[in-house]
Symmetry: C2
Subunit: 465 residues, 2 copies
C-alpha cells in the first residue's frame, strides 16, 4: 500500500476528512502519487488511520468531486491524469502599483464636480429607507424590470414634464447606475462606426467615453450661441452630444433659434440623433428654468439624459435616459437582456422621495443655498479682482472667469495651489489645440464652498493674479 | 405698437411675468411676431398692461435667456431669427408597444433564476442601513472610487480567499452593478475583435451579451468533464468563458485535470484569458465547496466574476470582478473614467454585512434551506417519476432532469404549464443545433419553492410524463 502516513492536527478545528483530503491532494500535487496509481480502499485506509470509514468516504468523495481521483467499478480509486499541477500556494498579497494617490487636501477647492452634502435630508432618506425595508415587501429583492421600476419611471416622467418640458411616456425611460453606464448601453443601441460631434470645449469624460467606444469623435467649435451648425454639417457626424441648457464648461444657454437648427440637422437623415445631457439645469437663479431641447423635438430625434448626481448626491448613482420611440424599438431588439443596474430598494426610496414632494423641497432649498454662493462669488470677483470677466453665470454650479493678465493658466493654478486654493483650468476641457487668441480661464465651481470660504478663496486668488 | 393684448389669469397661480413671457413666446411661435420685429419697450408695455416695469423686465429677460428675442443697444428688443418653430404642444402620452407583458402567474415555478427571499435578514439589513445613514457621514454621498470602496473590496477579498481559494489583492477587485455591467466594462478593457469560446450548452445571457459586443462567439462542445480542450484549441478563441464549479446548465464540476489543461491553453498565448463565472458556488450540499479555477492560476490568466445575486438577492445589484494584474494595468489605462455603478450607501451596508459575519450566517442558513429543497426534489423525482435520470445535483440551485420517454421538451413544458407548473427546457441553453441523439431535459430550479410545493409540482409533472 502506498505510504499514506499522516499526522492529524487535533487542535486546528479542521474536520478529519478535510485533513485526509488535503494530505492526499498534496501528495498528488507533489508527484508522490502518480497518475494511474491505485489508492487504498476506503476500508483499508480507515483501518490504517484508525478513523471511521465514513470519514475516509467523505475525503475520497471530495477528491472525486474535484477530479483528483477517479473511481473504476470493482477496481477501486485511481489517481487521475492531470496535465500539469501548479503548486497552490497563497501568493503573498502584493500591493498594486495602480492605487490612486489620495489627492492632496486643499483648503478651498473650487471644483465644479462637487455638491453641498451637508444639506442632504438624511432624516427623510433614512425614514423612507426604513419604510421600504419592511419584511413583507420581499419583491423588493427580486430582479426588477431592465428599464427600472415602473413607479419610479412614472415619477421621473412627471418631474421631467413639469420641470423640463420633456415629452415622454414612462415606457421611454431607462433608469441606470450613472450617465457612464447609460452611454455604454446607448452604444449597444446605436451600434458601431458612429461619428459623434462634441461641442469644443466640452465635458471631457464624455469625450473619453465616446473615444473608448471606438467612435469617431469630431470637436465642433462654438460661437456665443453654442455648437456651430455649419461646422456640424461639415463634420458628417451621425450623433451630436450637446448641453443646451447650461453648456459645460462655457455656461452658454443655447437659444431657441440654434436649437431649431440642430433639430433640423438631425431630422435631415434617418440615422442622426442628438444627445441632450441636461446635467445641472435644476439650478437656475434668474427667471424660470430653461426648457429642455427635447421639449422642442417633434421628430423623435433627441436622446435626453439626466442625473440625480447634482440634484441629490453623486453617490446615489441614479441617472435616466429618455429614448426616442424608434430607438426604444431598437433597445428591445438589441439589448433587453442587460439587467437593471440600480438596486430596487434604491429605486423605491428615490420614487417615494420624488412622489411625496421631498425632492422638490430639497431642490428649492438647494437652489437658495447655491444662489447665495453664486451671488457671493460674483460679488467677490467684482470686489477683489481686476482684469477678469465672468461668463456662464446665473445657472448650474459653476461659472467661468476669463483672466486678461499676463499669467498663464498653469501659473495661476500653481500659485493658488501653493496657497491652498484648488482651481480648475478651462484649457483642460478643450479637445485638441486651444483656439487662437486663447486667454487663460478658470472654471469656478462654488457648490461645495460656504460663502466665507468663497470670499477667502477669492481674496487669496487676488494675491496670485 | 404691436398688439399685445393679453388676458391675465388671476387664479392659475402663475406669476404675471410668466404669463407675459408665455404670451409673447406663443405669438412668436405662431408667426404673429416676425423675425426682426421690434417689441415695445419695457416701460411702454408695463404702462399698457398696467403691471410693474420689473414684471415686464423679468418676462423679457426670460425670453432673452431662451433666445426668442435679442437686445440691441439703444434700440430695444427684437424678435430673433429662428429657422423653424415647431409648435410646442404636449404630445398625448402614447402607450408604447414595447411594454413587456406581465408574465403569466404559475402556481409552481421551477425557475433556476430565483432565490428564496422570505429568509432575507431584513432586520439586520435595515439596522445596518440605519447606522450607515447617520448625519455626520456625508462622505457616503460623495463620489467614490471607480473600482468600489476599499473597505468593501478588502471584505470581498477576504471572503474570496477563505471560501473560494481566490488569490487576489483588494486592488484587483472591481465592484459593479451586476455581471452584465462588469462584462460591458471588460469589453472596454479587452478591446475589439475578440473571439470568445463558450461551453455549449451555456448561460444564454452571456452568449447574447458577447454577441452584442460584436465578439466572434464559438460554441465549444462539452464532455463529462466540461469544455473540450481539443475543440477549444481548434476554435482559435482568445477568451474562454467557463463555469468550472457548477456549470450552467449541466451542473458539471470541472475536474482538476481539465482545469489544468484550460490554464495551459491560456498560458500559451499572451492575449488569451479565461473568464470564470462563479455564479452559485456558495451552495454545495456534499463535502467542501469546490475551489475556484482562479485558485490554481499562477500565470495571471483568470478573470474571476462573482455576484451577490444568488447569495443575497438579485435586486442587490452588486457583483465583483477580479482582474489579473496585467489587465488591471489596462483597466487603468483604458477606462479609469467610468464611475462606479454602485451607490456608496449600498457598498457600505454590504461591507458591514460581510465584515460582521451576517453574510456567513445568512449563507449557512440558506445552505440548509436549499439543501432541504434539493433533497426533497431528488426524493420526489425518485418517488413519482419513471424514465428520468438526474444530473448536476449536489450543488447550486438547480439540477437537470433527462427525460427518456417519447415526449418532446415542448410538449412537456406545455402540458405542465397548463396544469400550473412552469418548467424550463434545457434545449434553450444550446447555441445552434442540438447535439445528435438529443433527449429532452429540464432545468429544475428549486430555490424559490417550498418542500410541499416541490412535491406537488413533481406530482403534477408525473401526470404529464
Amino acid at each position: 500500500m502506498i505510504d499514506l502516513v499522516m499526522e492529524f492536527d487535533a487542535h486546528g478545528g479542521r474536520h478529519l476528512y478535510e485533513q485526509i483530503y488535503d494530505h492526499i491532494k498534496e501528495e498528488i500535487r507533489k508527484g508522490n502519487l502518480l497518475c494511474g496509481e491505485r489508492l487504498p480502499s476506503t476500508r483499508m485506509l480507515a483501518d490504517y488511520l484508525q478513523v471511521s470509514r465514513s470519514t475516509v468516504d467523505m475525503a475520497y468523495e471530495q477528491l472525486l468531486s474535484e477530479g483528483y481521483i477517479e473511481s473504476r467499478p470493482y477496481k477501486g480509486f485511481f489517481v487521475c491524469k492531470i496535465e500539469e499541477l501548479y503548486h497552490f500556494k497563497a501568493a503573498a498579497p502584493q500591493k498594486s502599483e495602480y492605487v490612486r494617490q489620495s489627492p492632496r487636501r486643499f483648503l478651498y477647492d473650487f471644483s465644479p464636480n462637487v455638491v453641498e452634502l451637508g444639506s442632504f435630508p438624511f432624516g427623510t432618506w433614512k425614514k423612507i429607507t426604513k419604510e421600504t425595508l419592511i419584511d413583507d415587501r420581499k419583491e423588493m429583492f427580486a430582479l426588477g424590470h431592465p428599464q427600472g421600476d415602473m413607479d419610479l419611471r412614472i415619477s421621473i416622467s412627471h418631474y421631467l414634464h413639469t420641470s423640463r418640458g420633456v415629452n415622454c411616456t414612462p415606457e421611454q425611460i431607462i433608469v441606470g447606475a450613472g450617465n457612464d453606464y447609460l452611454l455604454l448601453l446607448l452604444e449597444k443601441i446605436l451600434g458601431r462606426n458612429i461619428c459623434v460631434a462634441l461641442e469644443n470645449p466640452t465635458y471631457k469624460r464624455a469625450y473619453r467615453i465616446f473615444h473608448s467606444f471606438g467612435y469617431h469623435v469630431k470637436a465642433i467649435p462654438m460661437d456665443e450661441n453654442g455648437m456651430r451648425v455649419d461646422a456640424l454639417y461639415e463634420s458628417e457626424a451621425d450623433l451630436a452630444y450637446v448641453m443646451p441648457s447650461h453648456q459645460f464648461p462655457t455656461g452658454i444657454i443655447m437659444p431657441i433659434g440654434r436649437r431649431m437648427e440642430l433639430l433640423r440637422w438631425a431630422a435631415r437623415e434617418e440615422q442622426r440623433y442628438l444627445i441632450e445631457d441636461d446635467y445641472d439645469s435644476e439650478f437656475r437663479y434668474r427667471g424660470k428654468p430653461i426648457p429642455s431641447l427635447q421639449a422642442s423635438d417633434h421628430e423623435d430625434k433627441v436622446i435626453y439624459i439626466g442625473t440625480f448626481s447634482k440634484a441629490i448626491a453623486p453617490a446615489i448613482r441614479i441617472s435616466y435616459m429618455v429614448l426616442p420611440q424608434r430607438l426604444l424599438a431598437r433597445y428591445w431588439e438589441r439589448c433587453p437582456f442587460f439587467s437593471s443596474t440600480v438596486s430596487r430598494i434604491d429605486q423605491s426610496v428615490l420614487n417615494v422621495f420624488i412622489r411625496d414632494g421631498a425632492f422638490e423641497r430639497h431642490l428649492n432649498k438647494m437652489r437658495k443655498i447655491y444662489k447665495s454662493r453664486h451671488d457671493t462669488l460674483l460679488a467677490c470677483c467684482r470686489k477683489y479682482l481686476k482684469d477678469v470677466t465672468i461668463s456662464g453665470e446665473n445657472g448650474g454650479l459653476h461659472m467661468i472667469m476669463h483672466c486678461h493678465g499676463d499669467q498663464t493658466e498653469e501659473e495661476l493654478l500653481r500659485l493658488a495651489g501653493e496657497k491652498g486654493v484648488r482651481l480648475y483650468g478651462m484649457s483642460d476641457t478643450y479637445i485638441g489645440r486651444l483656439p487662437e487668441n486663447w486667454q487663460p480661464a478658470l472654471i469656478l465651481g462654488y457648490a461645495g464652498l460656504k460663502e466665507s470660504e468663497i470670499e477667502t478663496g477669492i481674496r487669496i486668488l487676488s494675491d496670485c493674479i
